[in-house]
C-alpha cells in the first residue's frame, strides 16, 4: 500500500479546541460564500490549523422519503439533490431500477440520455466555475459562467420541457424525442461556447491574479485522492484516470469516441482547468450524439405494448411519451442492484433493495459532494485563511447534494 502523505489526524478530531490558542471563525450558514453550510475554521495567526465542516442545513432525509413512495415517484425526488445536474443524478436511480426490472433501453433513448447528461454536465461545470470566480471576487467570471449556462438550460428546456427539473429518464427510456430544429440550435450553441472559452481563458484562467490565487493551492496527491475515494474532476485533476462513464454501461458511451481528461498537478487551478477540458469533451460528445443518433422507439418495447394504440399515435405526433398505467405501481422482483453514474461533480452511487412490493425497501444514495466533503477538511490545513474560499471554490461542492 502506498503511503499516504495526508495526515489523517484522527487524534486531532478528538481534541477539544476549547482553551487552545486558536482564533475560531465561523463561515456560514448565512454567509455570502458558503451556501447552506457552516465551517468552523480555526486559525493560528493567518494559518488554518483545523476546519470542521458542519453540514446538514438542507437535509431532507431523501432515503426515508423514497421508502414511502412508489418507485417512479422517487425520480423527481432525487432530482432535487442536485437540481443543476438533474438528469445525471436521476439516471443512476433509473439505471439501478432498470437492472432490478431487467429492462433493456432502446438505442435512441440511450443516445438521448447521453445528450441530456452532457448538456447537464456543461451547465453544472459552468455553475461551478462561476462560483470559483466569485470566491476570489471575480464577478465577471461569475456572471459569464451563470449567463452562458443559460444557453445549455435553454437547449435542455427545448428537449425536455423544463429548464432544470427535467425528470427526463424513466425506466425503459426517456420522456420526449428530439425536436426538429434541435441539432441546428445545439451546433450553434457549441460553436458559440468554443469561441467564448477563449475569452474565459483570457479574462479569468490566464489572468495573473487568478493564477496567483489558484496555482499550487490545496494540492491533492494522487495516492490521497485514491485512498480518500475522491470523485469527479477533483480526482482526475490529481492524475487518476477514472470516470464512471468508463465503468458503468449506461447511455451511449460505449458507442461514442471520447477521452477522459486527466491533469497531473492536483492543485486548485488544475481542478478548474480540468472542468474546462471536460466542457470541451462534452461538446464533442454532443456533436457525435447528434451525428450518430439512430432512429427507433424511445421507450422499451415491453412498456410500449401496454399503451393503448390511440395514445401511441399521439405519442408519435407529439414526440412525447405516454406512460403505461403500470408505471404508477412498478414492482421489481426481490433483489438488489447498484449503479454508478458520472455527474458533473463526480460519481453518484445508488443501491436499491427491493422486497417485491411497489415501494423500495431501502434506497442508498451517495452523492459526489458528500464524498468530496473530506477535501474541505484536509486540503485547507496549513494554508492561509484567504486560501479557504479559493479551495472551497475549486472543489465545486454543492451543499444540497451532500445533504440530500
Amino acid at each position: 500500500m502506498e503511503q499516504s502523505s495526508l495526515t489523517f489526524r484522527y487524534k486531532e478530531l478528538e481534541r477539544a479546541w476549547d482553551g487552545e490558542k486558536v482564533y475560531e471563525v465561523f463561515i456560514g450558514p448565512q454567509h455570502p460564500a458558503s451556501g447552506h453550510m457552516r465551517f468552523i475554521v480555526r486559525l493560528d495567526g493567518d494559518i488554518i490549523v483545523n476546519v470542521e465542516p458542519d453540514i446538514g442545513y438542507v437535509h431532507r432525509t431523501m432515503e426515508k422519503l423514497a421508502e414511502t413512495k412508489e418507485y417512479i415517484k422517487s425520480i423527481p425526488l432525487f432530482e432535487r439533490a442536485t437540481i443543476i445536474d438533474s438528469n445525471n443524478i436521476t439516471l443512476g436511480y433509473v439505471r439501478a431500477l432498470e437492472k432490478l426490472l431487467g429492462i433493456e433501453v432502446p438505442p435512441r433513448a440511450r443516445y438521448l440520455r447521453t445528450l441530456l447528461s452532457e448538456i447537464n454536465r456543461i451547465a453544472s461545470h459552468l455553475y461551478g466555475l462561476g462560483l470559483a470566480g466569485i470566491f476570489i471576487n471575480h464577478s465577471t467570471m461569475f456572471m459569464w459562467g451563470f449567463g452562458d449556462r443559460e444557453i445549455w438550460l435553454q437547449l435542455a428546456e427545448e428537449l425536455t420541457g423544463a429548464r432544470l427539473t427535467h425528470t427526463y429518464s424513466i425506466p425503459g427510456g426517456v420522456r420526449s424525442d428530439l425536436p426538429q430544429d434541435f441539432k441546428d440550435r445545439a451546433l450553434k450553441a457549441i460553436r458559440y461556447m468554443e469561441r467564448r472559452l477563449k475569452d474565459y481563458m483570457k479574462i479569468f484562467f490566464n489572468n495573473p491574479v487568478t493564477v496567483a490565487r489558484y496555482k499550487d493551492i490545496g494540492i491533492l496527491k494522487k495516492e490521497d485522492a485514491k485512498r480518500l475515494g475522491i470523485v469527479g474532476p477533483n480526482l482526475r485533476a490529481s492524475g487518476v484516470r477514472y470516470d464512471a462513464r468508463l465503468v458503468e454501461d449506461y447511455g451511449a458511451y460505449r458507442e461514442i469516441d471520447f477521452e477522459v481528461p486527466v491533469r497531473e498537478e492536483g492543485d486548485a487551478l488544475s481542478r478548474l482547468l480540468l472542468r474546462i477540458d471536460e466542457i470541451k469533451i462534452s461538446m464533442d460528445i454532443i456533436r457525435q450524439v447528434l451525428e450518430k443518433i439512430p432512429d427507433g422507439p424511445i421507450l422499451a418495447e415491453k412498456y410500449l405494448r401496454l399503451i393503448p394504440p390511440k395514445l401511441r399515435k399521439t405519442m408519435e405526433e407529439t414526440g412525447r411519451v405516454k406512460f403505461p398505467g403500470l408505471f404508477a405501481s412498478l414492482r421489481p422482483p426481490p433483489g438488489e442492484a447498484t449503479a454508478r453514474v458520472e455527474m458533473g461533480h463526480g460519481e453518484v452511487f445508488y443501491h436499491i433493495i427491493s422486497d417485491g412490493s411497489p415501494k423500495p425497501y431501502r434506497v442508498r444514495i451517495v452523492t459526489p459532494s458528500f464524498r468530496n466533503l473530506l477535501l474541505l477538511r484536509y486540503l485547507p490545513v496549513g494554508h492561509r485563511f484567504m486560501d479557504f474560499p479559493a479551495i472551497y471554490g475549486s472543489v465545486d461542492y454543492f451543499p444540497p447534494e451532500a445533504d440530500r
Binding site: M1, Y10, K11, L13, H59, K226, G229, Y242, T338, L374
Partner: protein, 157 residues
C-alpha cells in the same frame, strides 16, 4: 486467476457466504466480529476506498444489516463493486469502525450512526451530521420511524 477466484480464495475462511447477484457486484457476508479482518483483506485485493456505507433495518429479524460498498480506481478492478455486509443486533447495534481500513468511512459511518443509530466503536466523531444537533427521536431510517402518508381521495360536499 480471475477476480472471483481471488476473492473466494482470500475470503472463504471468514465469509459466511459469497454471492454474485449481478455481473458487477460481489456480495460477501461475514460475522460481526470478522468485519475488520474481511475489510483488510478486501483492501489487500485493491478495493481501497468506499463508495458507500449503509444500514438496512430488518425489524422482523431484529437486526440491522450494515453494508460497505468498496470500489477501486484501478483499470482491472473498477468494473466491480465489492459489497461487504454484516448484521448487528437491533437493540445493541455495535460494530468496529473501519476508518483505519478505509479512511473515507469517516463521514459515511457517521451518517449511518446518525440515520440508524449503529455505533461504530473507535470512530472519533460520532455526533450529529445531517440531523439537527438537538435530535432525540428514534433514528429516522429505522423502520419504526413512520412518515405520515396521505391518501389520494378528498371528500367534498
Amino acid at each position: 486467476m480471475n477476480l472471483r477466484e481471488k476473492i473466494e480464495e482470500k475470503l472463504k475462511d471468514i465469509a459466511t457466504s459469497i454471492e454474485y447477484p449481478r455481473p458487477d457486484l460481489i456480495v460477501i457476508a461475514v460475522n460481526r466480529d470478522r468485519i475488520m479482518e474481511a475489510a483488510q483483506r478486501i483492501v489487500e485485493l485493491g478495493f481501497d476506498h468506499l463508495a458507500s456505507v449503509e444500514g438496512v433495518d430488518l425489524p422482523k429479524e431484529n437486526a440491522i444489516e450494515v453494508i460497505y460498498h468498496a470500489e477501486s480506481y484501478e483499470e482491472e478492478l473498477r468494473n466491480t463493486i465489492v459489497e461487504l455486509k454484516t448484521r448487528v443486533a437491533r437493540d445493541d447495534p455495535k460494530l468496529q469502525s473501519l476508518i483505519n481500513v478505509w479512511p473515507n468511512a469517516l463521514y459515511l459511518e457517521r451518517e449511518t450512526w446518525d440515520m440508524l443509530g449503529v455505533v461504530f466503536e473507535g470512530h472519533p466523531e460520532l455526533k450529529r451530521l445531517l440531523l439537527p444537533p438537538w435530535w432525540d427521536d428514534i433514528p429516522p431510517l429505522r423502520k419504526d420511524y413512520k412518515v405520515k402518508v396521505e391518501g389520494i381521495i378528498v371528500g367534498t360536499k
